[in-house]
Symmetry: C2
Subunit: 237 residues, 2 copies
């Protein structure tokens, strides 16, 4: 937690109130905060401030805003990922948010276990978005969308995301073309499930405007490949 | 598990025997293997082969080697990381191995909790190395070293790793210089603990030949920053 994210409702009087138990515990345990300390606060969907702690009690910490602070920029990327198992999903959401992904789309695919769509985590995405924002020092949540049917998504939605200025790359081990690097334009990146997309899916993605590109001959887990690809693509930022 | 890693002892007769319960279970549960299926086998520290399954019983799967296969290349990088908490350590080891890090050094630092050095995981590193190799399809374990004292490491060991042809970069948020990208030479990368290196440590690293470089103004967790940095540095591979 590198900033404390507050709801706009919590920042409408002169002093702002931190009341979430999770945040208060973190401030006590990890930062041992005291009255007078400075603290970075983000307003969800809004600005970020440097503040000073003016009051600490058991269930509330009050701060006074001092000055506006910079919000980190987003990466101009739409990340499309075949829904992973629930444990991986949590990390994936947090990491995508921390790294600054603008838009995240979770899709079905042949090798995605149907039970994954039943996980309670899908109802708690917002919590993991908050954790990711607080890690990064960001305040703006990415758009997250879910598509439970592969073909309609690829045929009807995906083409609307692709243009000459904003290509789409699907990571695929069995191709000569390499994933680009150090790009300076927006793009869409598509990551398959453990075991990869099946040939029918790769073909459909290519038919609908995606470029299949390789990341070399190491097979990397979904949660690891996301920072790896983003670091590679946006290395000039 | 994208290859099954065997000990050289298991590959000395004409047929090779998979006997580890973990591997046999995986082959049954995830791949539903049958006699006649082909299977990728790596010999730890040696070559990688395409094999065919010739016998399946409860506690043993026997395979016949068909032909030699390619081992993925390593990244020419020495990764130095302040020892993270045990849960993060497991992922970090697996990811570093999967991504092809040649040499991994875990060090102490002011913000590393001393109790982390007592974790039983440090006695099980080899298990997580195996999982990382099996994920990547690699057979060669990286060198892993542990240094429990920061100053002697930085003053006596680190300088021997650095040369004009192989610089060392320490990720540090408060610097203008950016982490390079798309490099085509070996290097050393140093990642601090949660909360970062303290100023004394950064100064000592710089005094001993490191370049402090920034990764932008998002604060990224240790386990996420490693693939992010490696993707950025070695994007031409």
């Amino acid at each position: 937690m590198n900033i404390v994210l507050l709801d706009p409702r919590q920042t409408q009087s002169e002093l702002w109130s931190i009341t979430a138990q999770r945040q208060i515990e973190h401030l006590h345990t990890h930062l041992a905060v005291q009255v007078g300390d400075s603290l970075k606060i983000g307003i969800r969907g809004g600005k970020r401030y440097l503040t000073q702690i003016v009051e600490i009690s058991e269930n509330i910490i009050k701060v006074k805003p001092l000055k506006e602070d910079h919000i980190p920029e987003k990466l101009p990327v739409t990340l499309i990922v075949a829904l992973p198992r629930p444990k991986v999903l949590r990390r994936l959401i947090m990491d995508a948010v921390t790294l600054g992904v603008e838009r995240l789309i979770l899709i079905h695919s042949y090798r995605v276990d149907k039970s994954y769509w039943q996980t309670p985590f899908l109802q708690q995405l917002d919590h993991y978005v908050t954790l990711g924002l607080e890690q990064a020092g960001d305040t703006i949540a990415p758009k997250i969308e879910l598509y439970k049917r592969f073909k309609p998504f690829v045929e009807d939605v995906l083409p609307t995301l692709i243009s000459e200025q904003s290509p789409a790359f699907v990571a695929h081990p069995y191709t000569e073309e390499k994933m680009p690097f150090a790009i300076e334009h927006p793009c869409t990146v598509i990551i398959g499930p453990e075991g990869g997309f099946i040939p029918y899916e790769i073909d459909l993605l290519i038919k609908n405007g995606c470029q299949a590109v390789s990341l070399g001959n190491r097979i990397i887990r979904t949660e690891t490949v996301i920072p790896y690809v983003l670091g590679r693509l946006f290395s000039t930022t």
